[in-house]
Every structure is written in C-alpha cells, then in structure tokens.
C-alpha cells in the first residue's frame, strides 16, 4: 500500500479517537469555544486530506459533518445530544471506510446519502443559515468573509495541496507524494511513538515535526539488543567484582552508566501514557448511558501515567470491559439512584498511578455494588459451592466468584455485557502479564477494582534464592517480605501432619518447601530413613521464608538461602519445558549462569486444591472478626522490671536510645541525663532497675512531651515490635499501668505513658495543673479538672468521643500534656446529652467506628444542633480511605486524622483551634 495512504490512515485513526473524546466533552460543555474549534479543525483536516488523496466518499461524509460543526462553532446551532449522536454516526462511517481502506487500499463502494441527508437537515434547520450546500457541491467555496481564519488557512492549504496533488492522483495515487507533504514514511502497523501534544495536522504545516513513527518491530529488536547488552554488562561487572584491581575498572563503570541510560532511554520509547488505552472510554460510556438511559460521569485521573506499550496493549481490552461493566451493571438508572438518596448522575472513576515499580489502576463506581444475593443464587445454580459452604463464606469471598468462568450477574443480556464471558477473562489476562486484580464491593455503595501490573515485561527485578544448592529467581513483584527462621527460636517452622506452616504476626502462613516442590532431592534420598532426614533437616537450621502473594492468597516459599536481587531479562523457556507451570522463564545471571525463574502463580496453583482467591478469605474473615473487637496497633514490647513483659503503643515512643549509665546525673532527687542539649528526666517502672550502677548501657524509651521536652523510661530490654489487637482484660491496679492484655501470647502490662509523663516532673508540664491525670478507666463521662466547671483561662476544651477504653486512656494524657482540658465520652449518644445540657467545647475529636452511632452520624447530628454547630470536629479513624475522608468532610468534620498519628492529631488540633479563632475575629 502507498506509504502516504498508510500514513493517512494512522493519522486519521488517531484524530478520530481524539474526536470521540472531544465530542463527549463538548456535549458536557457545549459552550467551550476552544474545544469546538479544535473539533472543527480535526474534522476539517480529515476532509482536506481525503480530498487530497482522492477519497471522495470519505470526503463527502466529512464535509457534511463539518458543515454541522461549523454551525455549532458559529453559535447558531445548539449542541444537543441528538446532534452529537449524528456527528458520532458520521465518525463511525468514516471509521468503517478507513478500516476498509487499511485492508484493501481503496475506498469501498457504498451509499452514505441517508447520513448525509440527516446531516444536511440539521445543517439547514432553523432559518438564518446560509444556502445549504448540496451534496455534490461539497467543495463549493464559501465567501471569504464568512470563513474563520482557520478555515481560510485550511482552504489555502487545500488549494495548494490540490495544485500539487491533482496530477499525482491521476496516476492512481500511487506515485510519490509532493515534497512538503512527505514526512517520515511508515509501514502500516506503526507504533505511535508520539509526544502527547505532538502536532496532529497534516494539512496545516505550522508546527515542526517533533515526533516520528517507528515500526514496532524496530523497537522490539532494539529492546532485545539492549536486554542482551544489560546481561553482558552484568557479567562484566560480576568479573570486576572478583578482580577489583583492574585496568577495566574505569571504562567499565562508564559503560555501566551508559548502558543504564540506554536501557532507560529505550524503555522510554516503549512507554505510552495510559490515556491512550482510555481514549475510547468516554465514547463508550456516553453511548452506554444513551442506550441504557443512565446518567454517567467518567472521571479519568492519572492519564499521563506511562507504561510499556506491550503491557498497555494487553490491558486495553480488560479495562474497557471493566468500565463497561461498571456502567452497565454498576451504575443504576437515575430513578433508582434518586430513590437510594444518591445523585442522579453516577460516577465511574479511573485512576492510574505508579507505586514501586508497578502501575496501579483503580476502577471505581458509586453504583449499586455487587448483588450479593444474586451471586449466591448463581453460585448455587451453577453448583460452584454448596449452601453450607456458602453460609461459611464472607462477603468478599462470595464476591470473588465473579472472577470464575461462566459467571454473569446481569439480569438481562444487553448489547454491552452479561454474556458471561467477562471477569474470568479479565483476570486471566491480567494475571498473564504478572498482574493481579482485587475487588472491593459494598452493596448499595459501589465497587472498586484495583489492578496492579508491572511497568514492563522485558526486564524485571528478581530475588535470587537457593534450595538444595540450586539457584532460582523469584520476580520481586510477588514477594511481600522475607523472614528468617531457625529451629531453636520462636521463629520456627511448624508442621501439621507434614504440612509446614509458619506463624507470621499471629496468622498461620501456609508454606511450600522449594526443595520438595521441585523434587530437588534425588529419589534415592527419599527412601532414606525418616530419622536421617530429620537429622539432615536439623543441620540446616536456618531457613528463609519468601512470603509471596498471588492475588489475595498469601503463602511462604521455604528456601535455604537468599542471595541478592538482580535485574533480569526474562527469556521464555524452551518449548520442551512449556508444560512446567512452576517456571515463567529463564535468564542469564551476571555471573553467566543460567537460572530458572519461578512463577508464583504456578506455585500457588501447584500447592494444593485451594483456589487462590477463595483461600484469602480465611484471613480476611479473621481480620474482620478482629476489627470488630478493636483496632490493631503497633506495640513496643519490653522488659522493665517485674516478670511480665510490658507494652506501650509504638506511636507514643519518640525514639529508642541506649544511655550510658555513667552519664546519669541526679538533681532535685530526680535522675536525669543530658540529652540533645536538654535535661531529660529518667524514670523506671520498677525499683529493681538501678540507675546508680554507673556502668554499662541501658535501653531508654524516649517520650516527647510538648515544647521538645522529653522523658526517658529506662527499661531492661527491648523485646520486639508487634501488631496486636489490644484488649485490656484486667484493669490496672497500680499507677503507671492501664491493665493487662494478651500480647504475643503472653500476659503483658500495658503501660500508661501519661502517668509517667506527668510524674516525671510536675513542673515540666505546667499547663497541666496539680491534679494528676484521672486514669479514665471507667466509662462514665468525666472531665479532667472537674466536671462542669468552666474552663480555666487559656485552656482549650476538647471533647473526645471514642468507644475504645484503650484509646480514651491513651489520648487523654496525651492531650492533657499538650495543654488541653479533656472530656472523654464513650459514645456519641452521651455526647449529645452533654450538648443538650449546654456544655461547651472548643473542639470535638471523634472516632468513626462506634457501635451505637457512628462518627458520621454523630457529626451530622452535631452540625444540625444549634449548640455545637460551630464547634470544629476532628475525625479520628484507623480506616482513612479517601472515600471515608470525603464522607467525613461532607458530614461536617473539618479534619481527618489517622488514629495512631499522635503528632498530626496535636498539630491538627492547634491548627483547627487557631482557624476557629481567626474565623471569629
């Protein structure tokens, strides 16, 4: 095919895609004049080029559509959905013709007169327009006075082009193009290596050419060569590592750098903004909403996020499918939405961003969410699970069924979805490129799909591990963490009837031994007596666990050694080995050896009958159960005298220090140490800790109070940091302890930091007054410094509402030390009672998840009541998702603070209060 025609096809397809998007925008902002001009220009360019290339049918359609657009632009025709649909129709016709030209090289025969008539009707409607241009006189020039500058320029171009072009066309449009119209020639399937804002116009040569089209194959070859170069570079560097004194040192370093830059550069040529994969979506959503009578907004964020072309191609269809699904299944029709108290227009939000070598794409809709009952019914109908099994499953677990083959929940099959070939294909496609997909859905509120995909497929970062002397690479994408275990410590691998498991942060992690999985021991060894085997196992005491995640299924791979991470080029395994599902490829390491790349997906599949996504739910269920009883917080465990270990919320600890005992001084009956240019009082929790030994070092937990003042708590030994759900079971009977809880399987004292902060030096925290903190263990409402008393001058009154005694206890001293007068309440209901009584506060801090009334409802009520209307409210929550924050803001919270973020809470409070003051003045 003629280069010129191929170029035209590529350009036009691009323009058409742009047109799609722009028209949808136009429909929403009919008065955007710039947009209108742009659309007009695009269409005009298409028309102009068609004429030049001798494609009369295309030209005619484009021309008549342009006429209508012209009237939009001149402002004498209103942009209505009907008209836009008509323009879309013309674009579709053009697309159809282009597709045929791309295949056959010439325009197909056909009749577009119906469309043209419709276009003309619109063009001619509503009086004041100039005489209609009959179809055959497409080129009838308008009087110059009526033309815009744009048009004039284009007209001149066209005339010029025709002057050059006519004789060429006579020669069957096969001859070489006129010189100024000949940019880089390209074969048909060209990669669009274009800068985002590259000039699109062929007909208007204003901007110089800043991009050129390069054949995909050239780029692929280039990438392969660079990959090889990277490998060779790695090998050289490996040699250099062994022979450090070498003349090659400097040039090799230089080479290293250049290769890295080259690699980056070549990768960049393959990168394309994800917006390219989204270009079709606005049109799809628009058509969908017209067809289904819904109102849908499509919000696209992070369009410029770039990813590998190959990856982009592979996720295009799954993405389109999912957005369609959201529009079709997710968003309800306006009436239903209204009835549910939602805005009539549903929103689908697409978001893309980078996160640690991956691209995260989320597709969120505020529709009806997944219909749980229907899914259940469908599962039963299809015999995918028994009613008993179903009853045991969590909502999330049931929702995962939509990723199974043959599953569609749409009640009726529409032209867009509901054919039952859907999410399973999406999931397979995404997993094929090493990605994962997660689903989160709340019935009635909407669903969110989160897709995680690698940036590129060609070069990946991998962890090199060894089992039974053989080395393997595990792609880093699936690796969550590494854990070292040894037989003689708490961190040991346990077995249940031979199945290895590991306790990872109070959860049982299923394990697979790479040695067993890959049958690395020679068969003869397997027959060796059990005792011998056990002895051998013992010899290798230290094992590593590579905690891996596939989808939402987490498991550990037992390996003997962990080496380095290395950038590897994934090469496909030879066809002889294609059946081995455990490997995703092989590669050559820096030292020149060949190594197999393990496929976590394959391993997950091989490790048992458990369907990956189904298994995750045991964990999720567990977590749900826990979060009902409280929140998981990080705790620092230490020994500080007495037999029981002690725990303190890690968030309260500013630093851990080792303090030289000889540096301890005594003044005013108080042990202290010079610390960062200040005197820091030192305390112990137990008389058995002697601060006067004068020798050795002891660990000290440093707590910060306001004004950079600190307090040190001297302890015997720091044990661990752990994440736990705090459930104080026996309340403390002595000062300094909040009570006892089970932490890490042991009875542990939970330390009342407030007590120590306060007792370290009474003058230290002057604001506080003389009264000690009430240890607010009882649930009764109580106000520090006396209930109901008017606040002392300068003291800010804070109302803290939280159902968890632990948090009330933790925050009360904290806020007290910061100079606030704190009232704590267990529930919003009590708070509202206080409000009725006429109590006043400067700021209200409220938890969100509470049993009787949640924080959102509380805020709504407060904002509706006259008394506290103007009191700023700060939300305190451990689940600060953007949705929560949005919701919080809507109901009247002015700030949203994560529950354990002490510093932010304090700064937020002071900021909120100063804002309030300013507002009053």
């Amino acid at each position: 095919m003629d280069d010129l025609i191929s170029e035209f096809i590529a350009e036009t397809r691009e323009s058409l895609e742009e047109l799609d998007q722009d028209l949808v925008n136009l429909e929403q902002n009919p008065n955007d004049h710039d947009l209108l001009s742009k659309i007009f220009r695009l269409k005009h360019t298409i028309k102009g080029t068609c004429g030049f290339l001798g494609l009369p049918r295309l030209e005619k359609v484009a021309h008549h559509a342009e006429n209508v657009l012209g009237r939009f632009r001149d402002g004498d025709l209103e942009v209505t959905p009907e008209y836009v649909t008509l323009i879309f129709e013309s674009i579709d016709t053009i697309k159809g013709i282009i597709d045929v030209i791309a295949e056959t090289g010439s325009e197909p025969a056909g009749d577009d007169s119906a469309l043209i008539r419709k276009l003309d009707e619109v063009y001619e409607s509503d009086g004041s327009s100039p005489a209609p241009a009959p179809a055959e006189e497409a080129e009838a020039p308008k009087p110059a006075a009526e033309m815009s500058d744009d048009e004039k320029a284009a007209q001149i171009d066209r005339e010029l082009a025709e002057a050059f072009g006519e004789p060429v066309m006579a020669a069957d449009a096969a001859a070489s193009p006129p010189p100024e119209e000949a940019p880089t020639p390209t074969p048909a399937p060209a990669a669009e290596v274009k800068a985002e804002n590259a000039p699109q116009q062929t007909g208007t040569p204003i901007a110089e050419q800043q991009s050129l089209r390069v054949n995909v194959d050239v780029l692929e070859d280039l990438m392969t060569m660079v990959s090889e170069l990277v490998l060779t570079r790695n090998q050289l560097l490996q040699i250099l590592r062994i022979q450090s004194e070498s003349d090659f040192n400097t040039p090799l370093q230089r080479l290293n750098q250049v290769v890295s830059e080259l690699q980056e550069g070549v990768m960049k040529t393959r990168m394309q903004p994800i917006g390219n994969a989204w270009a079709k979506l606005p049109r799809i959503i628009r058509d969908l909403s017209m067809e289904l009578g819904k109102k849908i907004d499509l919000v696209m964020l992070g369009k410029d996020t770039e990813l590998d072309r190959q990856v982009l191609e592979l996720i295009k269809d799954p993405l389109t499918h999912m957005v369609r699904n959201s529009g079709d299944h997710g968003i309800e029709d306006p009436a239903t939405r209204k009835a549910a108290g939602k805005p009539e227009t549903g929103t689908i939000t697409l978001n893309a961003f980078h996160e640690g070598g991956h691209i995260i794409i989320t597709i969120k809709d505020d529709g009806k969410g997944l219909p749980l009952e229907k899914i259940k019914q469908k599962i039963l109908d299809n015999g995918m699970a028994t009613p008993e099994e179903l009853a045991q499953m969590s909502t999330q677990q049931i929702n995962q069924f939509i990723f199974r083959a043959g599953f569609s929940t749409a009640e009726k099959v529409t032209s867009v979805s509901g054919r039952g070939v859907g999410m399973d294909v999406v999931r397979t496609n995404i997993e094929k490129i090493g990605g994962s997909i997660e689903l989160n859905s709340v019935e009635g509120k909407g669903s969110t799909f989160t897709i995680k995909i690698p940036l590129t497929l060609a070069i990946v970062s991998a962890l090199v591990v060894a089992a039974s002397g053989e080395r393997f690479a595990i792609p880093q994408i699936g690796v969550r963490e590494l854990v070292m275990t040894s037989e003689d410590s708490d961190n040991k691998i346990e077995t249940i009837k031979g199945a290895p498991v590991f306790r990872l942060r109070e959860r049982l992690l299923p394990l697979v031994s790479l040695t067993d999985l890959l049958k690395l021991k020679i068969p003869a060894m397997a027959d060796v007596e059990q005792d011998d085997l056990a002895a051998e196992e013992k010899a290798a005491r230290n094992k590593y666990i590579v905690v891996t995640q596939v989808g939402s299924y987490e498991f550990g791979i037992i390996v003997d050694r962990v080496y380095d991470t290395e950038e590897i080029v994934v090469k496909p395994v030879p066809s002889i080995l294609r059946d081995l599902e455990l490997f995703s490829g092989n590669t050559i390491l820096g030292d020149g050896s060949v190594i197999m790349i393990l496929d976590p997906n394959g391993i997950a599949k091989a490790t048992g009958e458990i369907e990956a996504s189904a298994d995750a739910h045991a964990t999720q269920q567990q977590e749900v159960a826990h979060s009902e009883s409280g929140d998981k917080i990080s705790l620092l465990l230490f020994r500080g005298g007495g037999r029981a270990p002690k725990a303190v919320p890690l968030s309260l600890v500013a630093r851990l220090e080792n303090i030289d005992m000889s540096k301890i001084e005594h003044s005013n009956d108080q042990a202290m140490v010079q610390y960062r240019g200040q005197l820091m009082p030192l305390l112990t929790m137990h008389p058995s800790i002697d601060l006067n030994t004068g020798a050795g070092e002891m660990p000290v937990l440093v707590f910060n109070a306001e004004d950079n003042k600190s307090m040190g708590l001297v302890v015997e030994e720091i044990i661990d940091i752990t994440e736990e759900y705090i459930d104080v079971q026996i309340e403390g009977n002595h000062s300094g302890s909040l009570g006892s809880a089970i932490i890490d399987g042991k009875a542990t004292d939970v330390v009342d930091v407030g007590y120590f902060l306060q007792s370290s030096n009474k003058d230290w925290f002057k604001n506080h007054g003389d009264e000690p903190f009430a240890s607010a263990n009882d649930a009764e409402p109580q106000t520090t410094n006396g209930s109901g008393r008017k606040a002392q001058s300068g003291k800010r009154r804070v109302l803290l509402v939280d159902d968890s005694a632990f948090f009330r206890n933790m925050l009360t001293p904290l806020l007290g030390v910061a100079g606030y007068q704190v009232t704590t309440l267990e529930s919003p209901v009590e708070a509202l009672k206080l409000c009725e009584k006429g109590e006043e506060f400067d700021v209200i801090v409220s938890d969100i998840e509470m049993p009787d009334m949640d924080g959102f409802e509380f805020a709504e009520k407060v904002k509706a009541q006259s008394n506290w209307q103007d009191t700023p409210m700060v939300a305190l929550s451990s689940h600060a998702t953007p949705q929560d924050i949005d919701r919080g803001m809507t109901v009247g919270f002015s700030k949203y603070v994560a529950k354990f973020d002490r510093d932010t809470l304090l700064s937020t409070l002071s900021q909120t209060l100063s804002e309030k003051r300013t507002a009053k003045q």
Binding site: L231, E470, R471, S575, T587, S593, I595, M596
Partner: protein, 160 residues
C-alpha cells in the same frame, strides 16, 4: 572448537553424498547431518531444571543464548555403566530446532564423513524400538556401523 574446522576435505564428485559429523556415545558411532549443527562444545556447566523430563540435562549459557542440554545417552536408553569411567569428560553438539538451541550431550566427537548413498541401509527390522524412532538409517562403514540421528525426531520425542 568449531565444527567447520573438522571437516575433512573429501572428493565432491557425487551429489548423492551426505556430510555427517560422527559422534560416539557408549562406544557406538552416530552421525548427525552437518548442516544442522551450530557448534561443538566441550564440557559445560549445566544448570539443572527441576521437574523437567529426565532426558533434559539442564540449560546452559552459550554466548548469551540459553541452550537446553539433552542427555542423548538417556534418550537412547543406554545404561550409565556403559560409559566406563564416570569422570570422563563429555562434549556437546549444538543444534537449532524450531528457533531454539539444544545441546546434545555425547561422549566425544569423531571425524566428519562424507558418505555416499551406496553405503546407506534402512533401519534393520530388529533394531531396538527406541533407537528406531530416532534413527534415519544406517551407514555401513569399514569395521563399524554408523547410526544417523534424526535430530528433529529426537527432540520431538523429548517434547512429547
């Protein structure tokens, strides 16, 4: 050592000749059509591939390309005992098949022979079934017999 350097210059009068690299496995001489050969290698360090078919000895790095090593001895069902001294070094003949490289592990490489069709015989009916699958026929040489290896068939049979 490249295959080319070993080619004996024989007379090229007949066009019905076949150039074969002879290799020796467990005392038996085999012929591999020279045009299929990419390289001849000395003993290489080979990475084992777990769970692979027993004939697959592993993979190795040949100038940046990954080559799959095939233990021809295993494929031919020849006992390891026949190998004699186990410390004896092996060699490899690299062939390309289906755009992939394979290293056929053999005991040692012999001469390159140019053989006329008149010494060629079809596989005798009594030939071991395993061998019959991968043999294209026999050449009668002076004092010994040469089995012509059908490389594609050999590799396909590993595949299956």
């Amino acid at each position: 050592m490249s295959a080319q350097s070993q080619i004996d210059i024989l007379d090229e009068t007949s066009d019905e000749t076949q150039e074969l690299l002879t290799v020796i496995i467990a005392g038996q001489r085999f012929g591999i059509p020279i045009l299929q050969i990419q390289d001849v290698l000395g003993e290489q360090s080979i990475t084992k591939i777990p769970l692979a078919p027993p004939e697959v000895a592993g993979s190795l790095n040949l100038r940046g390309r990954i080559v799959t090593a095939i233990d021809v001895r295993k494929r031919l069902d020849i006992d390891d005992q026949g190998k004699g001294n186990s410390s004896e070094k092996t060699m490899g003949v690299v062939v390309e098949y289906g755009h992939e490289l394979y290293n056929l592990i053999i005991d040692r490489v012999g001469d390159v022979l140019k053989l006329k069709n008149d010494t060629f015989e079809n596989n005798p009916a009594t030939l071991d079934a395993v061998w019959r699958d991968i043999s294209m026929g026999i050449h009668r040489l002076d004092g010994e017999l040469l089995v012509i290896l059908d490389v594609p068939k050999l590799l396909d049979s590993v595949n299956a």
